[in-house]
């Protein structure tokens, strides 16, 4: 049997609400209560069941039948009255459209960020933000990514020229490989000043939050999520953009464990993607955590069998995470022998794409109303 009588009832009554004419009402009657109607089929199938099941299911199905017949009778009455009113002189055609009112919407990424932040807020996280133009220190160095670290190669960086005006000065450095150039070269390029960049990850806010403890600007424990824009020096295509949104998170307290990290992220996935979504928690490497974790969810399209969306793996990576590296904590003045910490980060654009099946990341920042009005 495909459907329980109660489910069928909900579906049928919902559909009935939208019925406004006599012929549509007749179609509805045939579909559910007719000789080959869905409910009739359930009642007929009872004969094949063992006696005790037949009895309980039969009673439930009959109850549904009574409800639906009652609703049908009421609806007939309503439609008849509406016809009478319309027929009277001066009656209004209630099917004419209403007076239009302006209907604005939030951008799908904003909606998603709100939703994600709300889930974490409900778990006790505070939402904080940090600057997009950032010192190299918070984006890289404080997170165990010194200038020669291979992780920099995967996060090609937009560097910000110090001072304003004078665009000729550093036109020669426009090579696209600056992200990988040694600091001595880079400092030279910037006239010995601290390197400034557009952050490549909102983990920079994690570094700042930790540093605030050492500076006396923030009390422990910490439980924050950090949404915002990040930038990558990357050619744009359907799946890569040079501007995107991320959300990082950080928890610091005595007795924080990887079990807490697992619990918090599973809880998030189940609240955001649905309780039935399978989660995979596997070892991975990020310089600022140890142990490191990759969190993936079962692919919504193939449910784990492998398809084009998930690259045949059955899984879609949604977050990187791990236990905050003791050096990262220590750099911010937090004693890793007393406090433990976990951190995580995820991309919001990707999450929205997965959720709504958007196939081109550029649509988000193209401002096309035909796209934006769908959300």
């Amino acid at each position: 049997m495909s459907e329980q009588p109660e489910q069928l009832k909900i579906k049928a009554l919902q559909e009935l609400e939208g019925v406004t004419s006599a012929d549509k009402l007749e179609q509805w009657r045939v579909r559910y209560l007719g000789r080959k109607g869905e409910l009739t089929l359930i009642l007929r199938s009872l004969a094949e069941l063992p006696p005790d099941e037949r009895k309980t299911l039969g009673a439930r199905a009959n109850q549904t039948k009574v409800s639906l017949e009652e609703a049908l009778k009421q609806k007939e009455q309503v439609i008849k009255e509406a016809q009478l009113v319309a027929a009277k002189k001066g009656g209004i055609d209630i099917t004419l459209p209403g007076r239009p009112l302006p209907a604005g919407r939030l951008h799908p990424i904003t909606q998603t960020l709100h939703e994600i932040c709300d889930i974490f807020s409900a778990m006790g996280f505070q939402v904080v933000e940090g600057p997009e133009a950032e010192w190299d220190y918070y984006n890289f160095e404080a997170l165990n990514i010194p200038p020669e670290h291979p992780a920099r190669d995967t996060q090609s960086t937009f560097w910000i020229a110090h001072g304003t005006g004078n665009r000729e000065k550093s036109a020669s450095v426009n090579t696209g490989t600056i992200g990988a150039v040694s600091p001595s070269v880079r400092y030279e390029m910037e006239g010995g000043e601290k390197p400034m960049l557009l952050r490549t990850q909102t983990t920079s806010v994690t570094a700042r939050t930790i540093a605030e403890v050492g500076e006396g600007k923030r009390q422990l424990p910490i439980m924050v999520v950090e949404p915002g824009k990040v930038y990558r020096y990357e050619a744009t295509d359907a799946t890569h953009g040079w501007m995107l949104y991320q959300i990082d998170g950080l928890v610091v307290d005595k007795h924080i464990t990887m079990a807490d990290l697992k619990g918090a992220l599973y809880e998030f996935v189940h609240r955001y993607f649905g309780a039935d979504r399978k989660v995979r928690f596997r070892a991975d490497y990020f310089p600022f955590v140890e142990p490191g974790v990759e969190v993936a969810i079962e692919c919504a399209i193939c449910r784990g069998d492998g398809c084009r969306l998930c690259g045949d793996s059955g899984w879609i990576e949604i977050a990187g995470a791990g236990m905050t590296h003791p050096d990262v904590l220590r750099r911010g003045g937090i004693d890793p022998d007393v406090y433990t910490s976990f951190a995580f980060g995820m991309g919001a654009d990707r999450t929205v794409m997965l959720r709504y099946g958007v196939d081109d990341i550029r649509l988000f920042y193209g401002s096309d109303l035909r796209f934006l009005r769908q959300f």
Partner: protein, 799 residues
């Protein structure tokens, strides 16, 4: 990194099916991204030997080889030029699934007559078998290939495509993965001790070695092999290299690549005869030194770079690429083989600066352990002796100035469980670490853990904890929820304000957009209608991708204008948009001031044309109404003062002012600006600086008692000079104590109103919080109001 399962099995027993092995590796941090089965379709292909080759009677280019399959003999028609009697080949029976060399599609081999002679199956090329693209001749197999054996058993393999994280420089190698597999599956590892005959004289005295930059080269090892002959490497080695994505070149280069894939250590071979002074000197490059590398390019070196040199000149860029001056060639007979350890940061810098991210470079910059040099060097020397007819000199020349002892780490079950939240026993922890090659000594309730030489990534106890978690499995870690802090800090006010503002504006009919934060100088200049626009103060990227995205935007206006123009191509109703984003204002020697800014634009009626009529196109007062409504919801009343914004029409714009401070601007966009953005209709814009506004947002609202006494409402129509602002009248009226509310309900000029005058009609609500007002009380106040309006502004009652 491509890893051959067959190669892996030489070093570790594998009982699991490939899929399960892939899953275990993935979960433990070695993501298997793909799997290629070699020989999956070779059901009807077996190994044979050519017994005889007869000419084809009807075709010069074809021959009729007879193949011995061990139990039977068959004759086929073949067009390959590389047939030789006695050679082992792969023979496909009729029914085999082969790749058609011309179409690239899999096809079933059918019995066929070729130029009148029946061909009973065929001999296969590499392309037909799906091994490589080679189709110049048939695949030939080594002499010891067993007759009649299915080719799949002999050559079939599974190639795993494994992503190696950068913290594991020991793992892009067969042995590295084998160690992981052994730990993850509990199988045993067999890594043989390398030995070979050292028939030559001692290397000592033949080769000089000096490390002049020990900070950049902690260890350098070299072996010497004489009498080698440059040739093709054996077929099996070529196949392995191909399966792992490398191109076979010659036996010497192939051996160094093979050992790199096997042991993870890059090696380099020099033609020793061309090393001047028979000396290897590891030093920084000199100022202005140049070297032509193996790819024929002249490289300009600097003292930041490390070179391998002989007495006279550089012979290699250390760890990055060899020099052409000592390249192994056909006339080479003596090979100096190098296995060294280099400073990763220096290699990274050199590789990037020279634009030479070679495979060796990528490996070195991840920090390969100095301990890995010796086993790899011995393995490669062994292969040179065995496969190239070389004679190895006795001993290895070595300098190891960077030798360090790593102190063992202490680890207790408490340490592990404190981080993981697990309940692992010391026994479990001990087993996990031991399986990975760590040596654990139990002292009381702790382990003293010595790290194996190949693990350069292990430094702290947390590194050990991760190893424990990986081997036991992340799925064995329990799940708990972090306890919420009691003293939860209040949310940042600006975040709440942003959310509030965006929700109010959507309610007022605006669509939110998000646009790129980078812009061009031209675009910013287009925002000003002034003849000489002020030079904007902008933050510039040092490495922009295009000139359209060169500056951090100081304003959101251009993005909104562009969005209106783009949407207008397909939208005939109103376009009301807003963006809430940062603008970036430079500050000296500091990060820019990033100000959260609201900018909104209104073009065309808010609602679509319908049977109820046309929507009304927005005017200044509609824009002002939106601003007032937004501010009202936030609990703010602003005043509006004349402004001179260069994007806006000078006659229709106002500054939004709070307590004397400007928080924003609103007005009609200047037609010149609209034209530059290709907008042909009028449009209104408002912009608010949120941090400035935030100071006035009423956080905690206080309840005020609802008035208990009735109000008295009076309408007054006033005639006044046309140039007196409404605000001045309202300010006076509101200054009287009993006035609760003032509404302007009519503005009129012409008709009975004299020239140069206008009529303003106000509805004034009088109310007392103490008692019911009498008519005479209201009359008195109203009279006082009229007197002041008359005295100060010259207003009189309209007759």
């Amino acid at each position: 990194m491509k890893i051959s399962l067959k190669w892996l099995k030489e070093y570790v027993d594998i009982a699991l099916p490939a899929e399960e092995l892939a899953h275990k590796l993935t979960m433990a941090g070695f993501e298997v991204e793909g799997m290629r089965v070699i020989g999956g379709g070779w059901d009807n292909v077996v190994i044979g030997k050519i017994l005889a080759i007869n000419p084809h009677p009807n075709a010069d280019r074809l021959t009729l080889p007879t193949i011995d399959l061990g139990t039977e003999q068959v004759t086929v028609v073949c067009g390959a030029p590389n047939l030789k009697v006695g050679v082992k080949v792969s023979y496909a029976r009729v029914g085999a699934q082969l790749i058609d060399a011309h179409t690239g599609q899999v096809a079933t081999l059918k019995a066929a007559k070729i130029r009148g002679i029946a061909s009973n199956g065929m001999l296969c090329s590499e392309r037909e078998l799906g091994i490589s693209d080679s189709h110049t001749g048939i695949l030939t197999l080594p002499d010891d290939a067993p007759l009649g054996m299915p080719l799949a058993d002999y050559m079939g393999d599974v190639i795993l495509d494994v992503t190696i994280t950068p913290n594991r420089p020991d793992c892009p190698s067969v042995i590295g993965i084998a160690r992981e597999v052994a730990a993850l599956t509990g199988q045993s590892l067999h890594i043989p001790e390398i030995s070979y005959q050292e028939a030559g004289p001692s290397i000592e005295g033949q080769v000089g070695l000096a490390i002049r930059a020990p900070d950049l080269c902690p260890r350098y090892c070299a072996s010497l092999v004489t009498g080698v002959k440059l040739a093709e490497s054996p077929v099996w080695m070529q196949h392995r290299l191909q399966d792992c994505g490398m191109r076979p070149i010659n036996n010497i280069v192939d051996i160094t690549n093979y050992v790199m894939l096997e042991y993870g250590q890059p090696l380099h071979s020099f033609d020793f005869e061309r090393i001047r002074g028979k000396k290897i000197i590891v030093r920084r490059a000199n100022h202005g030194e140049v070297l032509i590398t193996l790819d024929g390019v002249e490289r300009k070196l600097s003292p930041d770079m490390l070179v391998i040199a002989d007495e006279d000149r550089a012979v290699a860029v250390a760890g990055v690429m060899g020099g052409a001056n000592t390249e192994v060639t056909g006339s080479t007979t003596t090979i100096l083989l190098e296995a060294a350890s280099f400073n990763p940061a220096s290699i990274h810098y050199t590789g990037r600066t020279l634009g030479l991210p070679s495979e060796a470079c990528t490996r070195f910059e991840r920090g390969i352990s100095a301990g890995m040099t010796m086993p790899a060097l011995k393995r490669a020397t062994q292969l040179l002796v065995e496969l190239c007819g070389g004679v190895a000199a006795r001993g290895i020349e070595e300098a190891y100035p960077g030798k360090t002892e790593r102190a063992p780490l202490s680890l207790s079950a408490g340490d592990v469980n404190r981080i993981l939240g697990s309940d692992f026993s010391l026994e479990q922890i001990n087993n996990a670490l031991t399986s990975l090659g760590f040596e654990c000594k139990r002292i009381d309730s702790s382990l003293l853990v010595a790290t194996p030489y190949w693990r350069s990534d292990i430094r702290l106890t947390v590194d050990l904890i991760e190893e424990v978690a990986r081997v036991i499995g992340y799925d064995q870690i329990p799940m708990t929820m972090p306890v919420q802090p009691l003293n939860k800090p209040a949310p940042t006010p600006i975040i709440g304000l942003k959310r509030n503002v965006s929700q109010i504006l959507t309610g007022l009919g605006f669509q939110e957009i998000i646009t790129y934060s980078l812009t061009s100088l031209e675009t910013m200049n287009n925002l000003s209608a002034a003849a000489q626009p002020a030079e904007p103060s902008l933050l510039r990227l040092a490495n922009p991708m295009t000139s359209e995205q060169e500056y951090l935007r100081p304003s959101l206006r251009a993005s909104l204008l562009a969005a209106v123009a783009a949407n207008r191509r397909h939208e005939d109703s109103g376009i009301w948009l807003f963006e809430l984003g940062k603008v970036y204002l430079p500050r000296n020697n500091n990060l820019p001031d990033e100000r959260e800014t609201l900018c909104a634009i209104m073009s065309g009626p808010a609602v679509e044309k319908s049977w109820h009529g046309e929507g009304r196109a927005p005017d200044f007062f509609e824009a002002k109404g939106v601003v007032e409504s937004l501010l009202c919801r936030l609990g703010i009343t602003a005043s509006y003062e004349p402004a001179s914004d260069e994007s806006l029409n000078s006659a229709e714009q106002a500054a939004i002012v709070m307590d004397g401070a400007r928080v924003g601007v609103l007005g009609k966009l200047h037609p010149d600006v609209l034209e530059r953005f290709e907008i042909t209709e009028s449009a209104y814009l408002f912009e608010i600086d949120l941090p400035a506004l935030l100071r006035f947002v009423v956080g905690d609202k206080l309840y005020r008692q609802i008035p208990r006494f009735p109000a008295v409402v009076r309408d007054v129509a006033l005639v006044i000079d046309a140039d007196v602002a409404h605000q001045r009248l309202v300010d006076i009226i509101k200054s009287f104590p009993l006035v609760e509310k003032v509404v302007l309900f009519d503005v009129y000029s012409g008709g009975q109103v004299p020239q140069g005058k206008k009529s303003l009609a106000y509805r004034i609500t009088f109310q007392s919080r103490e008692h019911t007002l009498t008519d005479s009380e209201v009359n008195t106040v109203q009279q006082q109001i009229l007197e002041r309006l008359g005295g100060e502004l010259g207003a009189g009652l309209r007759g």
